[in-house]
Symmetry: C2
Subunit: 538 residues, 2 copies
């Protein structure tokens, strides 16, 4: 890595100091390996409490829904024509019933894994006709309990619908089944000189369809914009089995309401996305990643303003992490911090990507040189090769796992005006300390710490309350306090993670009554029987 | 201007040849002046036939709608509390009843110009309760007859709702009344270092709200993406007077269906947009514009592929014009072509914009040098200053006026797969010549020529059939032929101009039955009485 502190003068010129990279590489690989096993690991420990028990006072099974019987299962067998497509074994079901944070656990007795859109259509039509409730499930990497059942809903997994359908290397339009894993889609595009216009930590597990159904934002929204802009068409099975198909849409098409938009972020409540057509940009030729240490949140914002001005069209990510999240990362990953010179209150990860490495280097060096001369940056490193670059990203992407490592985590994914953004972390900590619930080192306290990181470029904070155990007491301190705080600042209670089960009752903090009525109206319009992902969203 | 042909060697190095620019400046200014008066001019000549007469065989007034009476007018007076807000004078009404292409003319007896959202709400509620049909109208620059009445619908003009509400110079979020003129919004943003993420020829007249209501694409979609990605929130008055307001939304907000998306491109059929919140990018520091002459459409595509690869993140526009459109431009503008060395089959206008002029120049010069060495570009010029840059854009932007200058124009705004795109112009010409209707110089023929230009970067062709007179005969040759041709290639019959009145019956060429049913379902859901912009869209 290039160390900025040790070579401020060098940054402005050509003679860059390059730090030995071997240890950094080892670090990153360890972090990566840890991240890869993070999802699987929890299933070996004791099982999670049923959502029906944990939240029994708030939600009960709607008895209008039919209970699954043998005749239903037989019908589904006839549709799938493959017994591997049905999961009924209790042990096997566990993986689909639980979310990866181990907060929610449903009691579904049946997972269906259709291989074609037509099978999805026949399944849904049957469920709709018979009032069988369903939960669509992608990679099950969601953070709000949206992809697991609350009670006995049938799980429809898209994991067997996993083919790339086509790619046009002139226009960059990729058409894929919903169940294609994001990382696979991006690798396929990389082989063709293109890039998926979205990236996130769960890319090794999450599905393209799930990403669209939850309107995921991720790490590069700053550069490539939201899925509402890049998704060109969808194939969606509506609750009555009707197949809506706009997969042939070109980049511009102004003939009628843009129906596909309704399904982007609909979290499986009005249809099941089975296919996605998305416009992919050319893969940048040159990437740079820098990790910077700064002394205050205000300085983070100043660095951001400078980056937008000076890096402009090549700025592709601007992430921040607070110092407390880095303490936890060091402990959990058992690694030195990439910036070795000390502990700092805030860290910023900047990525640039462009078509000309020399130009990008020059822009980045000028920007960093200015930032250091102005005293905005206390220390920093620049990745010098692909491995170092990946390692820095791995460090950032390990945070969801790090923050859950003490036992559990309450995750709040919020949008706030930039000036107020970090104030929420301070406010949450204050409340937890006041209630005598939090201590970094005292194992008797249920909360380790409330830490913050996220996508400054999008005004998106991830507040993570890292806990040793989940408890009603913590929840009562945090909610509705956190939502009220956000509402007061006119933020959103869910920037990118969605509503799911967790935030169903908190939509009123981000949406007004007219909006909520309109949302309910659309839900009823498309899913009059309410079979799709019930007890959630709205 | 920098001439490429005379300085191919220079392009690769530093010693660029700069052509005398005075004549070019004069040209551009003349073109600009001509463009500015283009909309106003037609109103001085004889009046347009009523749509009700021209299309009487296809559409008749729906007698469920109430006819305006004095009591209605009195009520509207009481709402607006300003007699200037009502237009009832026959001469004054003409401007609002006719579209600028002079193809459509309604017979409205009343134009209302509310000054507040609340007034719009009270007007709509009254109209809905009394079954009075309405047409929302922005700058009335549409190309499909969507913003003028077909019969006696009341026109609700947004022109008095014309204030910038707020601008946040940290996030780039602009909030504006719907009636703010696009050019004014962009000038306001320029003063603050930002840019409106959309630009189009009619910017001096069209409204921000109209642009959103029609999901306009324009000249820089290639760089900044569609409005579905950049609009953050809307204020919309629904047919029953309810005010939907999502103006406080931040960049990311995943709480419920993204309702605002429905109104982007809804052409006034389910609500009236009264306010727009939009995310604006930082204004690039450096712009370059080059105009290139190439020998074939295939070569246009090759130049485009190269530009995407080599100009990548700084490419902000890639426009093409066929040689025939340039012949008409020379005649109408009475000016030499910016490229003086001869007539070429195709022309390409490339714009780059970025944060570092030196870097951009180097990228553009490398790209153009390569293109010329490969024999892709026959001649070309690069604007050397702001005035030359504007002049080249003016030349391109004069085409809508140029193509209408012989008397009238049938405009087809279509999306097609790139390889097929220009084939439609050839096919249309063939049909017209076959029917003995077209000749460039023979004044007895109704059609001058069918020409093509548009946004290659978006797969968007503007086919313009330039006529001396409008006639049923021409229309019968062109329709449904053009739509069938597009449908066969899986294109869209409206890339960016919308459906309006012109294409209401042709949506089936771009949308399948399920989609059309879903669109009709939403129309009925939001406008059960059908008072909003009837006889159009779907």
């Amino acid at each position: 890595m290039l160390s900025l502190r040790r070579s401020l003068r060098g940054v402005r010129g050509v003679s860059l100091y390059i730090a030995p990279s071997t240890r950094a590489v080892a670090k990153g690989l360890a972090a990566q390996a840890a991240r890869r096993t993070a999802v699987a690991a929890p299933y070996s420990t004791k099982s999670v409490a049923f959502t029906a028990d944990t939240y029994g006072s708030k939600v009960s099974r709607d008895e209008k829904y039919k209970k699954l019987d043998d005749a239903d299962t037989k019908y589904f067998e006839s549709v799938l024509q493959d017994t591997n497509g049905l999961i009924t074994d209790a042990d096997d079901l566990l993986f689909f019933n639980e979310d990866w944070m181990r907060k929610y656990r449903g009691q579904s007795q049946l997972v269906l894994k259709p291989k074609t859109t037509d099978q999805v259509s026949r399944i849904l039509k049957y469920c709709n006709d018979n009032l069988l409730a369903v939960v669509p499930q992608g990679g099950n990497t969601g953070l709000v309990g949206g992809s697991v059942p609350v009670f006995d809903e049938i799980i429809i997994s898209l994991s067997n619908l996993n083919k790339i359908r086509s790619f046009d290397d002139v226009t960059g339009i990729l058409k894929a089944d919903a169940g294609v894993i994001l990382e696979n889609a991006d690798q396929y595009l990389a082989d063709n000189g293109y890039i998926f216009p979205l990236d996130l930590g769960a890319k090794g597990s999450c599905h393209v369809g799930g990403v669209v159904a939850t309107n995921a934002g991720g790490l590069r929204l700053l550069r490539y914009g939201s899925l509402h802009g890049s998704v060109l068409g969808l194939e969606v099975v509506l609750p009555d089995g009707t197949i809506y198909n706009s997969m042939d849409s070109l980049r511009k098409d102004n003939t009628g309401y843009d129906l596909k938009q309704l399904f982007i972020g609909s979290e499986g409540t009005i249809g099941i996305i089975t296919g996605v057509s998305i416009l992919c940009p050319a893969r940048p030729q040159a990437f740079n990643v820098a990790l910077l240490a700064v002394s205050s949140y205000e300085t983070v914002l100043k660095v951001f303003a400078g980056a937008r001005r000076e890096l402009s069209e090549i700025l592709s990510a601007f992430e921040f992490m607070d110092g407390k999240s880095q303490i936890l990362a060091r402990r959990h990953l058992k690694l030195d911090h990439p910036i070795e010179s000390g502990e700092y209150p805030f860290y910023v990860l900047i990525e640039t990507s462009g078509s000309n490495k020399d130009h990008d280097d020059e822009k980045l060096e000028t920007f960093l040189g200015n930032a250091m001369e102005e005293g905005l940056v206390d220390d920093g490193i620049i990745a010098q090769d692909e491995t170092q670059l990946r390692n820095l990203w791995s460090w950032r992407e390990s945070l969801p796992e790090v923050t859950a490592s003490a036992g559990g985590v309450y995750k709040y994914d919020v949008s706030l005006p930039l000036a107020d953004l970090y104030g929420l972390v301070d406010a949450a900590n204050e409340k937890l300390v006041e209630a005598n619930l939090a201590d970094l080192d005292d194992e008797s306290k249920p909360v380790v710490d409330a830490v913050g990181y996220g996508h400054i470029g999008d005004g998106n904070l991830h507040l993570n309350v890292c806990t040793r155990v989940y408890s009603k007491e913590i929840e009562q301190v945090l909610e509705p306090f956190v939502y009220e705080w956000i509402s007061e600042k006119k933020g959103s209670v869910s920037a990118e993670h969605g509503l799911g089960f967790q935030k169903k009752n908190y939509i009123g903090y981000s949406k007004n009554d007219v909006e909520i009525e309109m949302i309910k109206g659309l839900k009823k319009h498309y899913d009059p029987n309410g079979i799709m992902n019930p007890y959630k969203y709205v």
